[in-house]
């Protein structure tokens, strides 16, 4: 066992330390937080022999440049990102041994939006209510360090990793086939007229540039949506699709407020949330309705496929 220190020479565009987040505190108004592409985050941890909920670095659009002091075992997953270790192009989706004194240079993301970097070991970072995920709306003093800044550093208690892994090709995400988002009809679906409903399912929607960890919004508005008087506030979940008064569709994500008063017309199925977490501004998507049994079957398939990298 030894300590390895990572120094962030360049922080990247928006790099956060994320785990699964904190579920079950919505009743106190706390959003769940956590990795936007949970699948990639878990895979990165499994590739370096960590437990699934170990912290990772979530990198958005542009990655950081890191100097290592002490040997490290890392893996990079998620959106396609340029990885160079000591100027040498290096593959994603496998266990990498990074010798002490190396420069890990994570460049531009070319497909998808968010990449994940796992590092073997126990991270010396702050936790709050059993998660390291920083909250968006308030800057919690004790989790500020989990938003990576220039010249910040990270210490990990690590060890030699003998068992190196590479993810099978068929388990890697295909960012060219991310555009079909499967949904279950939501509690207020019937507040849309027949023609609204058919527009919802037939339209190729464009991802709005104002999309972030709170919500992924659509550019196209549903025409002639009859404005509702405000509904009595009720809970939102990750993947809830809201329809606001302007007829705009908003997919609520990990950092969204816990309650709201807009019609909830559909919910993205659990196994497609990772796709939504990787949608880029300008991309085209469509919504396909499925039933709950189908969605549960997808969760089972997903779980089984990940067993192979335990």
């Amino acid at each position: 066992m030894w300590e390895t220190k990572l120094e962030f020479i360049r922080p990247g565009l928006h790099s956060l330390i994320q785990d699964r987040g904190r579920a079950g505190l919505q009743s106190s108004g706390v959003p769940q937080g956590g990795a936007m592409d949970l699948r990639s985050m878990i895979i990165s941890n499994r590739l370096v022999g960590n437990r699934d909920n170990n912290p990772t670095i979530e990198m958005t659009l542009m990655g950081p440049k890191i100097k290592t002091i002490g040997d490290a075992y890392i893996a990079i997953t998620g959106a396609n990102i340029e990885v160079k270790i000591n100027d040498k192009p290096t593959p994603m989706y496998e266990t990498l041994h990074v010798p002490s004194g190396s420069i890990i240079n994570l460049g531009k993301i070319t497909k998808g939006v968010r990449s994940y970097m796992a590092i073997n070991g126990e991270w010396k970072i702050d936790q709050w209510l059993e998660s390291c995920s920083p909250l968006p709306v308030i800057i919690l003093k004790n989790l500020q360090s989990n938003q990576i800044k220039k010249n910040s550093s990270l210490v990990v208690n690590t060890q030699k990793l003998i068992n190196k892994k590479t993810l099978a090709e068929n388990l890697k995400p295909n960012f060219d086939r991310q555009n079909n988002i499967r949904v279950i009809i939501g509690p207020e679906y019937n507040l849309m007229s027949r023609s609204n409903q058919s527009y919802f399912f037939k339209t190729k929607f464009t991802v709005h540039k104002n999309s972030n960890r709170m919500a992924v919004s659509m550019v196209e508005h549903i025409p002639n949506f009859k404005k509702q008087k405000e509904l009595i506030s009720s809970a939102n979940l990750i993947g809830t699709i809201q329809l606001n008064n302007q007829g705009q569709l908003i997919i609520l994500m990990n950092d969204a407020g816990t309650t709201g008063g807009y019609p909830r017309i559909a919910n993205v199925i659990s196994s497609d949330l990772t796709k939504v977490g990787q949608l880029k501004a300008g991309e085209k998507i469509n919504f396909e309705v499925v039933d709950i049994d189908f969605a549960i079957n997808e969760i089972k398939k997903e779980k089984d496929s990940l067993l192979s990298i335990l």
Binding site: G24, Q26, S27, G29, V137, G186, I232, S233, T258, N267
Partner: protein, 240 residues
């Protein structure tokens, strides 16, 4: 009570569609009952004014099973659903520097500032739900005569501890944030204290009473909180 699917791992229980104490008590009773009995596959609840979202593990249970389980609960005959009545007493300073909207609001209601203070601080409020921001409790209902419109343009920064009015609701901003409520006072008490093991002062079902204090007492409490000498428990009366 109407139970509908809400995504592939949650269900939504809809009660009578109104903001009402009796309806909200049913939401909270059922929520507490589910938390205490934790049916197979149950994960957690998110109570709101007149709805309860129940999140479950779809690999352990399913919508139909959980729905029939919930439908079979006869909440009136269950002893476990007793709502523990806590009364939380919140000191509020309504003086000018602490209450930027109070005078204008009083004028719009053709009342004196004193009348507004008395109407606001004489009622026992009920915590209907938490939401919007961590630790933000929706308290109600206020007296009809102080029903408030939201500000036409929301403030970008409402200071932590501000006490606001909107509709028939009142609330304390847990920390500095944007907000459109009418600000009629301020409390030194922190409804959200991140360094505490349980950071949230309020939970659904609590009752809240505001007590008018002067600027001197406000500052004294504020200092006690900063030097960690303030006992939050002293604010709480536990009923039967």
């Amino acid at each position: 009570m109407n139970i509908v699917p809400y995504g592939d791992h949650a269900l939504l229980i809809k009660f009578e569609n109104k903001i009402d104490f009796e309806v909200n008590q049913k939401v909270i009773s059922l929520s507490n009952f589910l938390i205490e009995t934790s049916p197979n596959g149950f994960r957690y609840c998110i109570p709101a004014y007149c709805s309860l979202t129940v999140v479950y593990d779809p690999l352990v249970t399913n919508f139909a099973k959980l729905r029939s389980k919930i439908e079979s609960i006869d909440i009136k005959n269950e002893k476990k659903n007793v709502i523990k009545s806590r009364i939380i007493n919140i000191p509020v300073c309504y003086q000018k520097n602490y209450a930027p909207d109070l005078e204008t609001f009083a004028r719009s209601k053709s009342k004196s500032v004193e009348e507004i203070i008395s109407l606001h601080s004489s009622k026992l409020y009920h915590v209907y739900m938490l939401g919007f921001l961590p630790g933000f409790a929706y308290l109600g209902k206020t007296d009809e005569s102080i029903k408030a419109e939201r500000r036409a343009s929301p403030r970008l920064k409402v200071p932590a501890g501000s006490v606001g009015l909107a509709g028939l609701q009142t609330a304390i901003y847990p920390y500095e944030s944007p907000g459109g409520w009418q600000l009629i006072g301020k409390t030194p008490i922190k409804p959200f204290n991140e360094v505490k093991e349980n950071p949230f002062l309020f939970q659904v079902g609590d009752q809240v009473k505001f007590r008018e204090i002067g600027a001197d007492e406000y500052k004294a409490i504020e200092i006690d909180i900063i030097v960690n000498k303030f006992d939050t428990e002293s604010l709480i009366d536990v009923g039967n």
